[in-house]
């Protein structure tokens, strides 16, 4: 499965991420595919190695999917890691993509969850349906 995205599609993804995720207070948001390719990153990723983050997130998602299978689930739809100052939230987008959101301790997890769920619905048709 290969993915080719036109400039228009990329622009639509960017505006959806800016509007729904960054405006909710996230520091940075990345859309990656489950083989580790970085598709779009938005926000302020200063000193952040986004390419490595994309590869490791895809691997992390794959590894937790195996854990899910062990307990009789197909997959986990979201993952959340809490740090001292920075948190990271992963949401499944369709079957083939992951949305990674970085946000600080002053931003509510509930708001991030709500907004990432909304943006997921916008992203799926752009990425070619239920991939």
């Amino acid at each position: 499965m290969d993915l080719v995205l036109s400039k228009e599609s990329i622009d639509n993804i960017i505006s959806a991420l800016d509007e729904d995720v960054l405006r909710a207070g996230a520091d940075c948001v990345l859309l990656v595919d489950r083989s580790g390719n970085l598709i779009v990153n938005r926000g302020d990723p200063a000193n952040l190695d986004v390419v490595a983050l994309a590869a490791l997130s895809a691997a992390n998602f794959g590894a937790t999917a195996e854990i899910a299978k062990l307990i009789g689930e197909d997959d986990f739809a979201l993952l959340f890691h809490k740090g001292k100052n920075e948190n990271i939230h992963f949401t499944k987008v369709g079957k083939g993509f992951i949305l990674i959101t970085l946000f600080g301790k002053d931003v509510s997890l509930g708001l991030i969850r709500l907004n990432t769920a909304r943006v997921t619905d916008t992203l799926i048709p752009i990425l070619g349906g239920e991939l």
Partner: protein, 203 residues
């Protein structure tokens, strides 16, 4: 899965180094990382595990310049070679665009090479990928041990074991010294980019 971003005219491909445990897959990546300039290579990521075996994967992104106005970004991964880590190998193989099979020239590894290649064939087939169609290059590693008192397989024997049916490009190498490492990368990059762009054109 390759990804083509037409707003940046960029192609991203995933190349996986496969092969039996302790065969030199990580050493290949380490050599490339050391030998390349910062403008070409990204940061190498190795998941920290105890001992010198890869338990999950190593990762090295490279920017290989432009072909027909498209900039080529390649991501190199290694898999853990040990037989018991097959679930991890399947995870890393997900969406692969090209494969370097690093075979071990040590005589004692003869069967492990064949076993690992067969395991690759099976894992690809489970993902509906035919080993005869996906870009694949063989590297016969540790050739520098020839002449030492450690028994090694002859290139002819390795060809007979692994490449008789596949008939893919192969290279003699010594990942530790760097011999054949760039040749292998050049060959797999070339066929992978060709394969990905052919798929793109047929859409």
């Amino acid at each position: 899965m390759s990804f083509i971003d037409l707003s940046k005219n960029e192609v991203q491909c995933k190349i996986v180094f496969y092969g039996p445990g302790r065969g030199g897959k990580t050493t290949n990546l380490l050599y490339l990382h050391q030998a390349m300039t910062d403008s070409v290579r990204g940061k190498m990521v190795t998941i920290d595990t105890k001992g010198d075996r890869t338990l999950f994967f190593d990762f090295l992104p490279l920017a290989l310049g432009q072909i027909q106005g498209l900039s080529i970004k390649i991501q190199l991964y290694t898999v853990p070679g040990q037989v018991m880590y097959n679930a991890t190998r399947k995870l890393v193989l997900k969406g692969v665009d090209g494969i370097v099979f690093v075979a071990d020239s040590l005589k004692v590894q003869k069967e492990k090479n064949v076993e690992s290649l067969e395991n690759l064939r099976q894992n690809l087939a489970e993902d509906n990928v035919d080993i005869n169609e996906i870009p694949l290059v063989l590297q016969y590693n540790k050739r520098d041990l020839g002449g030492s008192n450690i028994p090694i397989l002859s290139v002819e024997e390795m060809q007979e074991d692994m490449n008789k049916e596949l008939q893919v490009p192969w290279f003699s190498g010594s990942a530790l010294k760097g011999d054949g490492v760039f040749e292998t990368l050049r060959a797999i990059s070339k066929v992978t980019v060709k394969y990905v762009s052919r798929k793109l054109l047929s859409r």
